[in-house]
């Protein structure tokens, strides 16, 4: 590039900057307003999220856990090998430790299962709240929204109140059936056992059902009730009306709720930390740091997690019929 080109470029940038700061047209002034309105957010996003995330990527490539030093791809290699080693047929010949593959698989299947259940329950609740004349509807809405205010650790405690060794339901069933409550408790069991996972499942649902419900209420508010009434008058059963009239209308909202709930499920940490029932990615991330401070691996895990979440969320919202009400 010659100096002449350089000067032209500098001039162009300067002219563009001047147009932005001292605009002459109404359109220019509007552009200046938009920039002024958006700048605080971009500043917060860059300082608070973008720079730390770039640093996180750099940490995952560092040779030392204590400082940014050198360049290595070993941590990503470990993750990739671990995922392959966890695969049923392909990984059987590999000697790599499949632990990260297992952790990623746990996050995915557990997140998907809790998402499907939560959104299904959310559809039913939103349906009832919208279509039935329930008594004290305002109070019901307030009560269902209450768990949204609870951090994950408190959700874990709520599950313990129900299902721990001293929990209400555990003791109730134990008294009725005459068994030791220890055999029935859903929390405090060894990690990975069916009882422990069931307890965690209910914990995830406790946080996700209210969120899914309020995502779906937005779509339900836009349903054309005339069409529903017409279908009913023409002899469709309530189920047929829901299946062929209501569901097609709320489908974009349901897809959106599935995507966002899945994202929520992947990011849950506090509940898992307290209940320690299943090793998911966020939990493993903490364990890598708590035992041995394995920063490169932890960062690599976080980078993979973040990249997946962003791609999945944006692709999901952009390239499906998903609609995010609100």
């Amino acid at each position: 590039m010659s100096t002449l080109d350089d000067r032209e470029l500098v001039d162009q940038v300067r002219a563009g900057g001047e147009r932005l700061l001292v605009p002459e047209t109404e359109r220019g002034r509007e552009r200046r307003r938009i920039v002024a309105l958006v700048t605080p957010f971009l500043l917060l996003a860059v300082v608070g999220a973008f720079v730390p995330l770039v640093y996180l990527v750099r940490m995952s490539l560092s040779e030392s856990a204590a400082a940014i030093q050198g360049l290595q791809f070993e941590s990503y290699r470990t993750l990739a090998l671990s995922v392959v080693a966890y695969l049923p047929v392909l990984g059987s010949g590999l000697s790599a430790d499949p632990v990260y593959g297992e952790v990623i698989w746990n996050s995915l299947w557990f997140g998907a299962a809790t998402t499907v259940v939560s959104v299904a329950v959310g559809v039913a609740i939103a349906h009832g709240l919208e279509n039935y004349d329930l008594p004290y509807e305002g109070l019901l809405v307030t009560l269902i929204s209450f768990p949204i205010s609870l951090p994950g650790i408190v959700v874990a405690f709520m599950i313990m109140v129900w299902f721990a060794r001293t929990g209400v339901l555990t003791n109730l069933f134990a008294t009725v059936a005459g068994v030791d409550p220890v055999a029935l408790a859903l929390t405090g069991q060894p990690p990975g056992t069916a009882l422990a996972v069931a307890g965690l499942f209910l914990g995830y649902c406790y946080s996700m059902i209210p969120r899914a419900t309020f995502l779906l209420r937005g779509s339900y508010a836009q349903v054309n009730t005339d069409a529903e009434e017409a279908a009913r008058a023409l002899g469709a059963t309530p189920w047929q009306t829901f299946r062929y009239v209501t569901l097609p209308q709320i489908r974009p909202g349901v897809v959106g709720a599935l995507i966002l709930s899945f994202r929520t499920a992947l990011a849950i940490f506090g509940t898992v930390l307290v209940l320690k029932a299943l090793s998911v990615v966020t939990f493993r991330f903490d364990q890598e740091l708590a035992t041995g401070f394995n920063l490169p691996i932890a960062s690599a895990l976080a980078v993979v997690f973040f990249a997946f979440t962003v791609l999945f969320t944006f692709a999901g919202l952009r390239y499906t019929s998903a609609e995010v009400a609100g």
Binding site: F41, N171, F214, A233, A267, T282
Partner: protein, 305 residues
């Protein structure tokens, strides 16, 4: 259903499933709503009750009413595990004076969260206005990025800690809280803006001679005060109890409220934990009443993420 509509129904067998859904569908959905509310709210009620109980070894808490658990949690009673109480902090003021603050963890978290909310106001209101009022290149992407918390608190926490190692815990918490809770602010303010005719409002004010900054600050913002208020209340409460980020960032200095909750949930007896968690429930209950006054039902901001 009246006799008239009954006759209008065509003579066609809807099938066994159809008949079943006709008779049981509504009842099943209502029962599901009831069961969900019981599942969500019973432990809350039991926790509140247990915080006043003396014993919980059977099915239900017993031995009412005692304030021991509350006194212990608030740090007003010397007993085993007092290091997990809310604690008090003594601040030395210049001139030999000193102030002792009771409930240090709670006061600290509320203060830090309030700073986070102030940032959220400065950041959230303008961008909510920009994406609602103007159409510009990338507005859809910006909107999506603004209302979705894309980075989980745990990951953001460690990244933050390593990127700005010299930053005091409190400052890191302020930035982290404001970033993690800003979607709630934007969604609340946006829903207020969407119910207003922004273009007309703006043009009327401009045609009466107000400059654009003045229009924004004295016409647009006051009109959206309900949304701004409910967004601020929700952000404040959620930030004061934020755990994942705090857990990673907190190292020394005053202990955030959520860490106090965590220490109790993992280590204290169930009754003392019940009192600690109840303390937060009482805050949320107060906040819910305040939200009602702004026309917001609980924490249900436009489908919270």
């Amino acid at each position: 259903m009246s006799a008239d509509t009954e006759r209008a129904v065509p003579d066609r067998d809807p099938g066994r499933f159809g008949r079943l859904s006709g008779t049981l569908g509504r009842r099943a959905v209502t029962a599901l709503i009831g069961a969900t509310i019981v599942f969500l709210i019973t432990p809350v009620a039991l926790t509140l009750a247990a915080s006043l109980a003396g014993d919980w070894t059977g099915v239900l808490p017993q031995g009412f009413v005692t304030l021991d658990n509350w006194l212990h949690i608030l740090g007003l009673q010397e007993s085993v595990g007092a290091q997990r109480a809310l604690g008090s902090a003594t601040i030395q003021l210049p001139g030999g004076y000193s102030v002792t603050i009771l409930g240090a963890s709670l006061v600290f978290s509320l203060g830090v969260a309030l700073c986070g909310v102030l940032i959220n106001l400065v950041v959230g209101v303008p961008i909510a206005y920009a994406v609602t009022r103007y159409d510009f290149y990338g507005v859809g992407w910006l909107n999506t990025a603004a209302v979705l918390p894309l980075v989980p608190g745990v990951i953001l926490g460690i990244a933050f800690l390593r990127t700005y190692p010299g930053l005091p815990s409190a400052a890191a918490l302020v930035i982290g809280y404001s970033l993690l809770k800003i979607p709630y602010m934007i969604l609340a303010v946006q829903s207020s803006f969407e119910s207003m005719d922004l273009r007309q409002l703006e043009e009327s004010a401009r045609s009466l001679g107000a400059s654009w900054p003045r229009t924004f600050l004295t016409v647009i913002v006051p009109n959206a005060k309900r949304g701004i208020l409910s967004g601020a209340i929700v952000c404040w409460t959620l930030a004061a109890a934020e755990f994942n980020f705090s857990y990673m960032v907190y190292s020394r200095g005053p202990r955030p409220f959520s860490i106090f909750l965590y220490n109790n949930i993992t280590n204290s007896s169930i009754l003392q934990t019940a009192a600690a968690v109840s303390l937060y429930f009482l805050i949320v209950a107060g906040v819910t009443v305040a939200l009602q006054a702004t026309g917001q039902r609980g924490f249900s901001i436009g489908g919270v993420r």
